[in-house]
Amino acid sequence: MKLDMKNIHIKNGQLVDPLAGTENTGDLFIADGKIVGVGSAPAGFVADEVIDATGLVVAPGLVDFAARLREPGQEYKATLASEMAAAVAGGISSVVCTPDTDPVLDEVGLVTMLRQRSKTLDLARVYPVGALTRGLKGVEITEMAQLHEAGCVAFSQGDVPIADLQVLYRAMQYAANFGFELRLRPEEASLVNDGVAHDGPYASRLGLTGIPVVAETIAIAQITQLMRATGCKVHLARVSSAAGLELIRAAKREGLKLTCDVSINHIHLVDLDIGFFDSQYRFDPPLRSVADRDAIVAALNDGTIDMICSDHAPVDDDGKLLPFAQAERGATGLELLLPLTLAWARSNKISLPQALAKISSTPAKALGFDAGLAVGNRADLLLFNPQASWYVIPEKLKSQGKNTPFIGHEMIGKVAKTIVKGKVVYSA
């Protein structure tokens, strides 16, 4: 047992278990990095620390399914240390990171180094997604099996679509051979072309080159056809359109091993929010129409969309203070995942266990562990005040990326403590 591992007694919290779908007030007991008691302490338990959780929700730590950590190679945008601090400040105990670092995560050594660095930091757990093709160039597939052994939980192209379907076909065959999952952004590059915003009346008005919805639907159609041909498991990342969600709904009905996520931004924002070319609203995929956003919300409510991710992408000011089309895409998101998910739940009358499932137990399941409050589960926990409000002030964010369209917005739901491996790693 590590010297700093304490027996913790969390007292009188609102225990929300998204895995069991339950909500009770009570106590929770932690020892050896695990939950050892719910309601009452196990025999012989002596608490080193007692946390009074009166008025706080006690839930499994959040699992963010897509974050860019920028290290290695883009430390001027963010470091592993800064983003892990942001993760735990956002109640996230497990971060799935994308392979689009520089160099990209396409070699065992790099994956090992990343995991080692994150272990040394000892904040949130890091789950690397390996590159699907070498250098994300879409030409040669990577040593997936060895990368998997090194700790990669799945394989993806980040935001770079594979142009050559033959390569994607082979990659899916190869991945299926080992039972690996691919995380693919459904986007047909030739239809994106030089597009920068949703192809609709608003982009036309602003004179911004449009990315049509068919860029997404054609890619989904291709991917699902290749799934039928190869038996590969696929997770579709950041779905953005109503038409795309219809295809996913049909594929799921058919029984394909398909899951998908949506970003916090696309639940709340639409193309009209771009206003006068505000580059804070430049995203990949682009923010789509009100009807698409409404379809996203409906698909979250009915379970077509399995999970919500932060799509965290720390961007520095130099990357944002440019004309819209030249500005970097993305926004910081780790610290906004919880409140923006809660905002969706509130406005759609979704229960707390159901809402938290989208950002904890469901993505955890995909990573192979249970994010619940049962005895024996990991003591990766989040304590938050569901009523407390706060404002997004860039300087107060822990992430090195200060850019987000939610600057100045009121968030409801404030993280009080984050516990990872039985240790308090963040206290407000």
Binding site: G200, S204, L206, G207, T209
Partner: protein, 320 residues
């Protein structure tokens, strides 16, 4: 959403787009421009409106005609004018757009005239300049070319008197045209009841009808009984590839010939923002014909730019 072109009193402090400007402001520009025109010609006189003002023409994209007319306009108003062809200088060395602007601010700039290949560049600059400095958009990407649109409005008002009973057709590459977008917004605000766009589907922006225009793909239908035909320049680089099969085919179906023009009202005027591609979007017989007002447009362009520079400068100084 607040309008970054207007100050708290609703006065024009930048001209970035014709979209969202009150009708009052559009008329103010037209009326002010009229002060600089007499009998269809520029008043041959120098004005002091911009005396002591440093105007920087920042052209991040090539242009001879627009840059020259802005230079002439600023000089006629007694400004000190510097024109920078940025493509060949700072930004090529890696300086960002805003770095360039802040450097010129430090050199005492009072007004920036900006042309840039990216939509929204002028908005970005206007958002980041110091208080008291005006920005005039001289064309940004596909987004806006407000002074061109206003000189078109001036031309229409000069020949037709009023906007509220006109049928106007905008013809050609609307997709890539900042001029068309600015014309549509200005015409809508000025009360034009029937704005038409005529183009093949490949050259129309998605959802263009949401801008309040009627869409035609056929010249014969679209030009019927119109009062004004506003031709757009077809960028030759658009001809290759999948937008259009050839210049010949485009000319045959969408080029303005005397026969097609005959479908419009007999007294219809023909406008073109220039430079023209004769035999591609317009027949020489039309370009040089009685109904063409293309050269007066150029003259009015200087008056309108003088008006805009004068108004934004005065409002920035708080003198009006």
């Amino acid at each position: 959403m607040y309008n970054p072109q207007l100050n708290a009193q609703g006065e024009l402090i930048h001209l970035l787009t014709t979209e969202g400007l009150p009708r009052r402001v559009l008329h103010q520009i037209l009326d002010k421009a009229a002060e600089f025109v007499s009998g269809g010609e520029l008043v041959n006189q120098k004005f002091a409106d911009l005396a002591g003002t440093s105007v920087f023409n920042l052209f991040f994209e090539n242009s001879t005609r627009t840059r020259t007319t802005f230079e002439i306009a600023a000089k006629r108003l007694s400004a000190d004018v510097s024109s920078l062809n940025i493509q060949a200088s700072s930004t090529a060395k890696g300086e960002t757009l805003l770095d360039t602007v802040h450097n010129l601010e430090a050199m005492g700039a009072n007004l920036f005239v900006v042309r840039h290949s990216e939509s929204g560049a002028a908005h970005l600059i206007a958002k980041h300049v110091k208080p008291g400095i005006a920005v005039v958009n001289a064309g940004d990407g596909r987004h806006a070319h407000p002074t061109q649109a206003m000189l078109d409005m001036f031309t229409i008002r000069h020949y037709k008197g009023d906007f509220t009973n006109l049928r106007i057709a905008i013809v050609g590459d609307v997709l890539h045209s900042r001029v068309a977008r600015s014309q549509i917004h200005a015409l809508s605000t000025l009360g034009c009841p029937d704005i038409r766009v005529i183009a093949p589907k490949t050259l129309l922006p998605t959802g263009v009808e949401n801008l309040g225009v009627h869409v035609y793909h056929d010249m014969a239908e679209g030009l019927k009984d119109v009062d004004v035909v506003a031709m757009l320049r077809l960028q030759n680089e658009r001809m290759a590839g999948a937008y259009l099969p050839s210049t010949q085919e485009f000319f045959k179906y969408y080029g303005l010939t005397p026969e097609k023009l005959a479908l419009a009202k007999p007294d219809a005027i023909v406008m073109h923002p220039g430079p023209m591609n004769r035999g591609v979007e317009i027949d020489s017989a039309v370009a040089d014909g009685d109904q063409a007002v293309i050269l007066p447009q150029v003259t009015f362009g200087i008056a309108v730019r003088m008006a805009v520079l004068s108004i934004v400068t005065a409002n920035q100084k708080g003198l009006l």
